[in-house]
Symmetry: D3
Subunit: 280 residues, 6 copies
């Protein structure tokens, strides 16, 4: 009746091979350094070129919409941190290839290659049409604020299916605004520091069991639109806060512009965006 | 302070033009007859041929994946009953074209042509991985039981976005098993009589405002896995029950086979289906 | 360990004296006849004249804003059915006297005269700013649609206080639209037949204990905006439905006018009413 | 992808052997006749003598506190309807033997003999300290009104453990007052007709999967203190109502006696009972 | 797609004119100093005299029950912090004038003068009849513990109406016990430091949108009866705690006096108060 | 209208006599030292010998199953901290005597001797069959993971009854893993430091009123499976965290062993334990 774990040998890291997609993106660059501590081999993928590989790194870029290429990319992989795909609003046909067909390809390959866990970059834009005068928890009804957000809803549903049907565990990270610093007042609420982002991925990879988890990726900011209580089994405790940046944005009184859609909904400018060329 | 409605002239039906997609399918055939009473013109669409048109009917078939064709199909339409697309599990590439790209095309055209309401055939397979020992309401977390179910989750999210962003109202019908009679024991629970199906569409079209509604399409069967209380503003009160068919399926005692996935989850055989050729 | 009740003598009715306020109003007139079966003496009050008194009836009209008169009115009373006060939107100063000061006077007198129960005519206008695309239960947040509705919120809070502090039981009846027949499409949803209204009062008076209860007064209409499940300990089971009146209002397709406030909220025209002279 | 059941041969009943405990009690006598239609062999147990056995019946009485006897009683049994034990308040030492040790013995034997399902007579007295001004659903916190009720809480917890750990399915029937007719006013609320009781057991035995279910055993009485919505997957739809007995109990006005504990809580006289000799 | 705010000129404060009512009261005095940093002009109102005005201050006292005076008081005002009215239990007629008629006057004037936001001093006494063994969130049912509390319920309902109907935003502050230090054991739970009170008003004024918000005004005390999670979009994070005052009140064992109403309910002595002269 | 407490004389401690059962056990030894500060006399009980008594201590050991001995043990006691009984899984007959019959004896004696409060060592094993991918609050359905856990469910139900019926207040401490340090990875989640344990008992004894409270006994560990929000009226704020012990257990990647029952459920090895000799 003991569940004491035998410590793994010092010579071996917890994962043999981790795959990082979107490795050349804003967040991929931040995360890349951390992964080396967790895996013997870090496989990096991006449409953009991957710069100088370290000795424990290998490149395996693939167009996500290319089923065979994605299949090859997952060969020998223990777990995936999937930051790839399109992470802003874009024409639907582009989103369809990258975020829908591409994600299907990833999970289909994960079944085949017996990948056990995927950390999936979802987005707070799956709930962006909730008003800024509400606090949403991880069970809140989906209210996507953009076609981009709709594709992330698809991703959460698809990964749920692959968990219920095939047992592949996924943590859906509903990432807020992860930059060096907030760029506007809204980001004081949605800010996720790079350090907290990396910690969130660490929790997602190393919690013994995660099932199909949904968690908001925000730092411990003064104002909160989201509530992670039901995801506290992941052990994510943010260390940073946007409070240090508050002085960058002078307080303003409520004005008529607050009736704008961009001010009324959590998704901010996404919720107010005009349709893209050729889209509605 | 009165909201008395002036009765519309007897010479004019409530809708000028209704579009029915999937008009040649199992349910489309049932519904086609009813629509004539509600619209001056009923436009029918299907990939399969539409048989003999009545004087108030017009054919306007389109491949849902063909954006221009779908756009033309919605020209002049007041409201849509969208039964089209693929309604069983199928290879993902097929589902992608019909149920994802096709649905996007439909909503993009609806914005352009100022369509006010869409009745969307979703499915109980969006919650098919909930156990048969639970009762789900219309806010229950999505648990799709198949790739087909995942595409219906996409449809519910997409239509939610088009409501929040563009004001197009949608009723998502999570249709159970709509046939002449239940074909197996599971369908005693999920049965939706044709009469109740038509009534459900009527409620969806004629309720003054529906917002973005979700409702389960089941008759008043003895055993219930779903709870429509929160959708009772739609006025759907089923008239039929599967009770009259119970004698077709002799009672059986619990056996080991009840541990099968198909017996444990509401989605039944969908939840237990092996991956299709080329799919996972 | 028995709680068998000894039947009361046939010569004595359950209540000795019941007070009915608002006895000359639309609903008071309906109810007056029923009360004679339940009480030896029925005391009737209204600002308007009470017509011919039966032998078991007595008149005791009072201006609700007159504390001493209200005090006298409650002398010797076992229970009150309080339909008095203003039941439509009105200038605030009038509402203040009738529905706020008047109600305080009633409860202050009830404490003094040891009245055990009050049936209070609240209104569905305490939740009239909930959208017509939602279903509210008896715990739903208050969303009054008018100053009138605000005074009914006051009444529910006041009666709650008198229950918690002094043990006076109250049933708050959130009455919908109680007329011979619905007068417009909205009333198909809010209709309460006279028969069901009387039954609701009967349940409110004769349920052994009611505590501080809130219940919606609607018949079993096809479309529902309210859910009385949590009040089912009152035993109210409506016998009537607005279904028989549906034919009076031809079905209409959704139109632009549905964006009107009067169409979007349960309160209907109340929610859309312009401020009264001198009010806002 | 079919789940069509092959009808069982006419010569064979759904269950081979059903065990009925408490067979000589008030409800056991009612149920005994029905079981013959469902099982080839009905094994009957009671502390009291079982009267004349039919050809398909066998007697196997056991003191529930006798582990070996209970073990023998479950040999060859497919499913159990467990009405045995003490069903009124009693000295704790007696309850301990019959309802705690006895129930453990039953489940321990069920594991050994691979019994698949047990229908367990729990009681509404597990929630009897909820006030009569509330409606409890099947997830409501336990509020036992007596030591008897506490032993039924034990039974629900024990059977939950045996489901989670060993897969034995149990339906806990929180039976109200099941007699020919209500004996007092409280029973107008808690009445369960014999016909509805038998139907409830039928649903409990023949629903494909029940997991660990909790359901209130009440007829469709006008006044409700309980809400079975979450148990509607069991298919129990009561046919009877206490409404036909309402005339037996004249309506009474609220009086001071309504402050009695027996009037304030759902458990009625149980909640107010003085401790038994030697008990507290 | 940017929502970057242009910093306001250093020469101009966020608000032009703020109105503070109840400016001479316990909390008004605390707040007065802070407002100068937020507004070019601070208008002060109280029935009591306002002491020496600073250069940015102006006096505009009015009897709240005087409609014309209140109307004039709101002329040219951007936002209001409404601490005025009666903040303890008092005869109903006094409460009626100050807290009911007075509040109506304030909101009616706010509509006329296009005031955008009101910070309203509600009170924890709107929920004071919840037991001390429960934790209430901002949606908890109202349970006022006094006529004073009932008038604050009125205020919350009235302000909700003015938000839904006219778009005036209100933050209802359910203020606990705001003094230099707790005065008794109960206030260890309800304590709100002056610093935290000022921060709460700051959050209420400067959050971009607040809608109609309800928030409990308590510091981060060790024991909590309230839960502000759903109001965390206001950004209120208390800095102080009553823990530093715990030593003032020696721990005591539970005694019979704990059955007193003042010990059982969150409202403490309010819930137990005898009716005032002429009141009930 | 004051609730100011007169400070008790310095010469007298808050409690006259506290009883500690299980005084020689792991947690009893920790707590024993603290009790002297709270009570004039600390009565100690255990089956094992109690070592050297301090001047304020007295020994009064009793076999919990011995009704007369337990009765004597409670004579003159103000409050009880009940750590006695069996705190690991054990044969049912042993659990029955210590945790069921013994607990009944304790409460029956408490009624007789007018004990006001009992702090009861329940266990997180009453919810141990909830998955590790969920967070349970104090109202979560019971899911015991062992016969031991079932007896703790009994204890929670029994103490609830004694509160509702006799007014004896109980705090049920669902203690996690209280040792010097976590012994395995699971205990990083369930760890309760000795200091936090003592603080939890202090809160349980000195909160003015506790009613029938349930609270999880865990320190402020990074990963949480439980949520004490609804128990925050107890004032328990843990000071310690298992974070300092994290380095003892190297992070490991998800592996197939994570499908083990011991890894999937909060109860860990309890949920997976094989039946004990003679048990099921």
């Amino acid at each position: 009746m003991t569940d004491q774990q035998t410590p793994t040998s010092a010579a071996r890291k917890p994962f043999h091979r981790l795959l990082l997609t979107g490795a050349a993106g804003n967040l991929g660059v931040q995360l890349r350094g951390a992964l080396g501590a967790w895996a013997d081999v870090v496989r990096l993928s991006d449409i953009a070129p991957i710069d100088a590989l370290a000795s424990h790194e290998e490149a395996a870029s693939a167009d996500l919409a290319d089923r065979a290429a994605v299949d090859a990319m997952l060969d020998g992989v223990d777990a995936v941190v999937h930051l790839g795909g399109i992470s802003i609003d874009a024409p639907f046909d582009d989103l369809l290839e990258a975020n829908i067909r591409g994600l299907y390809n990833l999970y289909a390959a994960a079944v085949k290659h017996r990948v056990k866990r995927i950390v999936y970059a979802s987005s707070n834009h799956v709930v962006g049409f909730h008003p800024v005068t509400s606090v949403v928890d991880v069970d809140a009804p989906l209210r996507p604020d953009s076609l981009y957000g709709v594709t992330k809803c698809f991703g959460e549903a698809l990964s749920r299916y692959y968990f219920d049907r095939f047992g592949i565990e996924t943590v859906c990270l509903r990432i807020g605004s992860s930059f060096e610093a907030p760029k506007n007042r809204r980001m004081l609420v949605t800010f996720l520091s790079f350090r907290d982002f990396i910690e969130l991925v660490r929790c997602s990879l190393f919690t013994n069991r995660v099932g199909h988890a949904i968690v908001y990726g925000v730092s411990d900011n003064p104002t909160k639109w989201v509530d992670n209580t039901k995801a506290s089994y992941l052990g994510f405790r943010p260390q940073d806060s946007s409070a240090q940046f508050t002085h960058l944005f002078e307080p303003i009184a409520p004005t008529a512009e607050f009736d704008d859609v961009a001010q009324r909904f959590q998704g901010g400018p996404f919720a107010a965006a005009a349709p893209l060329e050729g889209d509605a």
